[in-house]
Symmetry: C2
Subunit: 409 residues, 2 copies
C-alpha cells in the first residue's frame, strides 16, 4: 500500500463548500487503496485577518508570538477538513505540526525543518485514518511553536513525503500545472507534462511561480516526485521529477518574461581590482537584491558596470549607488526602468549547441535589440526594450516549437 | 515574591483596545513586584464563530476535532495579549494549555485536569516574564489536544493557582463581584465582600452565576482564595474563601430567585416501596433534570409526589410522566408553569435556629402563599406563585437586613 501526500492551499479550503469538496477528493484517493496524508494551509484570507489583528496591537510583534498567532490558521483548517471527511463516512485525524513531530530550528517565522518523527503519523495511518496535517508549522526541540515562512505548507508536504517514503507529493492549487510560458503573455503557451527540478527552479526564479523554491529544492535533494495539479478537476497536472534522458531531447522547456526589473549603469568606473566587490557589498549591506550583472571594459582604463534590481527597490539602490559613485570617483550613472527580461530554460541546452544563436536570431528578425545577456547552464536571459518584452517572449516561444500541443513524454 | 494568577474572560479581550487595556492592568500588577500568570479566554464571539464554521461542515462534529478547532480561539488571545504586554515594555511569553503542561484525561470537550507540570511555567517566571496561558484547554498523556468544557478558563486559572501555590486567583469579569441578590430583581442588592466556597456553590446552583461550580469546587478543595473582580475598574470585588468564624455571624448571605422551573404533581400514587425510585429512574433515563422533590402521604394509602423541572425540559418530562402514570396505576397529573423559587443561602444558618420561621413569617405578612419547601444545611428554598416571586425575593432580602450597605468583614 503506497502513501500519497496531498497538499491543499488556502483557496482550496477557503470556505465550507470547498472543504467538503476537497474531503470528497481525498476519499476518492483513499478508495483506490492508498494511505493518504493531507497537508492544509489556512483558509483563504485567515492569515491576513490574523496579521491585521496583530497590527492593531503593535507595529512590531515579536516573531515568537506571531508564530503562536498564525499557526492557529492551519489548525482551524485541519479540524474542519477532518470533520468533513468524517461527515462523508471516512476515518480521519487532524494534527498540528507540533503534534505530528515536525521538529524545526528556533528561527521563528522562518524556521527550517530539522527532523520529522513519524511515529504518531504511522500509527494513525495503520489505524486506517486519513491523516490531516497543519502545514507551515512545527515545534522546536523545547516545544516552542514555529512557522516555516513563505511556501511553508508546500515544504511540510514535500518533507512529509520524503519522511514517509511516499509514492508522490501532490500539490493542489488553482492552476492546471506548469506552463511553457505565462498564458497571459504567450496565449499559445502549453501545459508541461514533465519537468525537472532544475528547470522549475530556474523558471520559478524567473517569475513563473507555482511553488516556492525551498520545497522544490527539498524535493530535488530527496528525489520526491511532485505533482502540481488543479484542485477543481481531475486532469493530469505537471510532474516535477529528476532529470531523465528523454527530457534532454526537449532543448527549451519554457519561456519566461520578467517586467519588474530596472537597469542601473555605472559609467567609467576606475578599472582596479576590488572596485566591483566594494560596489556590490555596499548594495548588499543596504539589502538591495541584484539580479543580472554585466561588466565591460571600455577603451580608457575605466569600465562600465550594469546591473538590474527590482523596481520596488530602485530608489534605495540609486541612493546607495550615487554615494558609491562619489567615493569611487566614477563617472555618471544611468537608470532605465523601461526594460524587460526574456529567458529560456531547459536541461537540453547543455547538450545542444546553437540554442543561444537561435534565440538571438529570432529576436533580430523581429528587430528587437538585445541590451544585456546572461547565461547559466540551463538558462539564457536577454534584457530588451520594455515595450518589446511580450513580443520577444511570443517570438522565442514559437521559435523553439513550444506552441505545439505537448503529448505525454 | 508572590505569584498572582489573573483570568480575563472573552469580553475583557474582545478587541484590540480591550487587550491593550488588560495588558496595562497586568503590568500594573507586575510593577508591585509580584509574578503574574494570566489565563485568557477566546476573544468575544470567536468561539461562536468557530462553532458556526463547524456547523457548516457537519451537524455532528467529532469531539476530538471540535477540540482541535475551538482550542485555537484561546491561542489567538494569548498571542495578542503577549504582544500587547511587550508593546508596553513588559516581558511576556504566551503558551497553549498543552505547552504549559496541563495534562487532562481523554474526555474531549469536557476533559478533567489530571496534573499540571509547572516546569516550563516556573522557568518563564524566573526569566521575569508575564506568563500568558490559553485557558479552557490541555493535552492528554499521548499529546491529544483537549478542552475542559463550560467554565474551563476559570478552571485553568484556579488549577494553576493551586499548582503554583499562588497568593490568589483573580477572576476578571464584567460584573463588580457577587451580590446579595440579582440587582435586576432586588434593586437594593449589595455587593458581598467575602463569601465562603459553600455559599457561592449554593448561590450558583440557584442561578446567581458568576463562576462555574467546577472551579469553585477546585478552589474549595485546595483552599485557593478566589477574587471576582471587574476588569473595567480597580474597585475591590468579592473574595471567595474558606469559611471563617466571622462569616457565621451573618446568617443569610444572599437571596436568589429562579423563574425557569415548572412543577409537576403526580396525584394518588400507590404508596408502596420503590415507586418513587421507579418514577425518577424513568425520568433520569430520559435525561430530565429534577430540582426539588416533595412527597406527602395522603389519607387513602396513596401518596402525592411533586417535583420541579426546568421549563425547557417540561414537555419531555410530561411525556415520561404520563407513560409512568399508566404503568404505576397512579391518579391524574397536574402541571404548573407559573411558579417561582426563592431561596436564602448562608453558612450562619447552621448555628442559628429560627431562620426558616423568619423567612416564612415575612412571606406570610405579604400574603405570599408557600407551595413547596426544600432545605439543605445552608439553604432554604420556597416555591411560590410565579407572579409573586420578585416581591418574595425583595421581602426576604429586606427581612434579613441585606439592604444595608455591607462594610468590610
Amino acid at each position: 500500500m503506497a502513501v500519497i501526500v496531498q497538499k491543499y492551499g488556502g483557496t482550496s479550503v477557503a470556505n465550507a463548500a470547498r472543504i467538503k469538496y476537497v474531503a470528497g477528493r481525498i476519499l476518492r484517493e483513499r478508495k483506490k487503496g492508498n494511505d493518504v496524508v493531507v497537508v492544509v494551509s489556512a483558509m483563504g484570507d485567515m492569515t491576513d485577518d490574523l496579521i491585521t489583528l496583530a497590527e492593531q496591537i503593535t507595529k512590531r510583534p515579536s516573531d515568537r508570538e506571531l508564530d503562536m498567532l498564525l499557526s492557529t490558521g492551519e489548525q482551524v483548517s485541519v479540524a474542519l477538513l477532518a470533520m468533513a471527511i468524517q461527515e462523508q463516512g471516512g476515518k480521519a485525524l487532524s494534527f498540528t505540526g507540533a503534534q505530528i513531530g515536525i521538529v524545526t530550528d528556533p528561527s521563528h517565522t522562518k524556521a527550517r525543518i530539522l527532523d520529522i518523527d513519524t511515529t504518531r503519523l504511522r500509527q494513525a495511518l495503520r489505524e486506517k485514518n486519513v491523516v490531516v496535517v497543519a502545514g507551515f508549522q512545527g515545534k522546536t526541540r523545547t516545544g516552542e511553536i514555529t512557522t516555516l515562512g513563505r511556501g511553508g505548507s508546500d515544504l511540510t508536504a514535500v518533507a512529509l513525503a520524503k519522511a514517509l517514503k511516499a509514492r508522490c507529493c501532490e500539490i493542489y492549487t488553482d492552476v492546471d500545472g506548469v506552463y511553457t510560458a505565462d498564458p497571459r503573455v504567450v496565449p499559445a503557451a502549453q501545459k508541461i507534462n514533465t519537468i525537472s527540478y532544475d528547470e522549475i527552479l530556474e523558471m520559478a526564479s524567473l517569475g513563473a511561480k507555482v511553488m516556492h523554491n525551498r520545497s522544490i529544492e527539498v524535493g530535488k535533494k530527496f528525489n520526491v516526485p511532485i505533482y502540481v495539479r488543479n484542485s477543481r478537476h481531475f486532469k493530469e497536472g505537471t510532474l516535477i521529477t529528476k532529470e531523465t534522458k528523454a527530457m534532454e531531447e526537449v532543448t527549451v522547456r519554457g519561456v519566461a518574461l520578467t517586467e519588474d526589473e530596472a537597469k542601473i549603469t555605472f559609467f567609467r568606473v576606475p578599472d582596479r581590482p576590488g572596485i566591483a566587490a566594494r560596489l556590490f557589498k555596499t548594495l548588499a549591506d543596504a539589502k538591495v537584491n541584484i539580479d543580472m550583472i554585466i561588466q565591460n571594459k571600455t577603451e580608457t582604463n575605466t569600465t562600465d558596470i550594469s546591473f538590474t534590481v527590482y523596481k520596488n527597490e530602485l530608489q534605495k539602490a540609486l541612493d546607495v549607488v550615487r554615494r558609491a559613485a562619489k567615493e569611487l570617483k566614477a563617472g555618471h550613472i544611468d537608470c532605465d526602468e523601461n526594460i524587460a527580461k526574456v529567458s529560456i530554460v531547459g536541461v537540453g541546452m547543455r547538450s545542444h549547441s546553437g540554442i543561444a544563436s537561435k534565440m538571438f536570431g529570432a529576436l533580430a528578425r523581429k528587430k528587437i535589440n538585445i541590451d544585456m545577456i546572461s547565461t547559466s547552464e540551463i538558462k539564457i536571459s536577454c534584457v530588451v526594450d520594455g515595450k518589446k518584452g511580450r513580443l520577444a517572449a511570443q517570438t522565442i516561444h514559437k521559435e523553439f516549437g513550444l506552441d505545439k500541443k505537448i503529448t505525454r513524454e
